[in-house]
Symmetry: C4
Subunit: 127 residues, 4 copies
């Protein structure tokens, strides 16, 4: 095991282009169309991350809280966030707020057509 690294990242992150494609081609679950937030807590204490969900036509929902243990990655499909807050086919955005520094990357797999498409970006570190 490595010596813990100093904390890296920011405590507020934004994903502006949220959208879960509403259909899929290929085996379940790996090729199911999905949005993911991939988070790293490289520090030595657990991170508590509040995920706020924004929509185009109604008030924001959440926050949903995800706990990431110290020195752990956490890749979470938005499809599985729970509570039915985000449904396929609806535009949304996310603000993630953590009590310790983390890093967030946003990735989409779209398998609506016969060969899947991917996109990814480091989210926007807002503070």
């Amino acid at each position: 095991m490595t010596t813990p690294l100093p904390p890296v990242g920011a405590t507020t992150w934004v994903v502006a282009d949220g959208y879960i494609p509403p259909s899929s081609t290929g085996p379940v679950p790996e090729m199911v169309s999905h949005d993911s937030v991939c988070m790293l807590n490289a520090g030595s204490v657990a991170a508590s991350v509040d995920i706020h969900v924004f929509f185009t036509d109604r008030d924001p929902a959440g926050p949903l809280t995800v706990v990431i243990p110290a020195q752990r990655a956490c890749h979470r499909r938005i499809n599985d966030l729970g509570d039915g807050i985000v449904v396929p086919g609806v535009d949304y955005s996310l603000v993630l707020r953590s009590d310790v520094p983390i890093v967030v990357q946003h990735t989409r797999l779209d398998s609506r057509q016969a060969a899947n498409a991917l996109m990814s970006t480091i989210a926007y570190p807002a503070g």
Copy 2:
């Protein structure tokens, strides 16, 4: 409804690689080739966003103004910006200037060939 978050983001954003693929494969409208700017106004007052369009061979056009209500996401296809300023097949860039902080992500869906491609990036926060 959640308590309003403090404003997050920047007031000037740049998308350098604008291009709407000029053909498409698949059902309309969801699989029509498009560029999108996905914007989040997480703050508690409406955002007025001026979109300036730059070309390779002529003077810039616009601005087109988009209003994003408080605490709302706004995902806008460039194809539908109006006024016929941006047409498929032409290279362009965008500068977006908002009166309050927002976050902007740029995404392209290209369905010219039989299975769509995607790309996305957080835009460049310029101030």
Copy 3:
């Protein structure tokens, strides 16, 4: 014509993952596999951009100089930079240095297989 915007961006930009896929599927030239640097000079004076090319196994080449007129976008395929410096199938990186602020986005179209793939990211603003 719009009033000139203040200059936006940075003067040094880096693209780390350069690679031109060495084969293509589909019509020429639009579906030819390529890397592009998409640059915006939103300011009111022309930009002179020096492009330095780095390789894995030999000394860097260039700079190649590209001039972007005031208030213009410039989308340039690396395939067409000239001088045969970058050839398909070879890993490379780019450092771009401009005498005025610009914004740079890096995009790849890969049509080696039957339906094209895309990737894009705002380049790294280094100063």
Copy 4:
């Protein structure tokens, strides 16, 4: 050969969304599904880069050390990092720490289905 450029970049970089798709379609090695870290050391002294690997369910591994000569690009597939630390199909994140400034871009090629998908982002510069 060009005059050496001043060093550009940062010394700590993060890739949050690590995942090597566990199957592939097409010729070996170019179309094998892979994650890559593409690094540029534009400076005039060699860079020693420690790569720390984080997982969702066990302690971090590494660091693996990669040396990048002065004025060289280094595109490294995670598949080939050695020591069997990262295996296809497992979620991970990376922290890269260099003794001199470098720039890091993260790219995935996914050829599980018949036409490959690509995604890329400049990694997060953490310090």
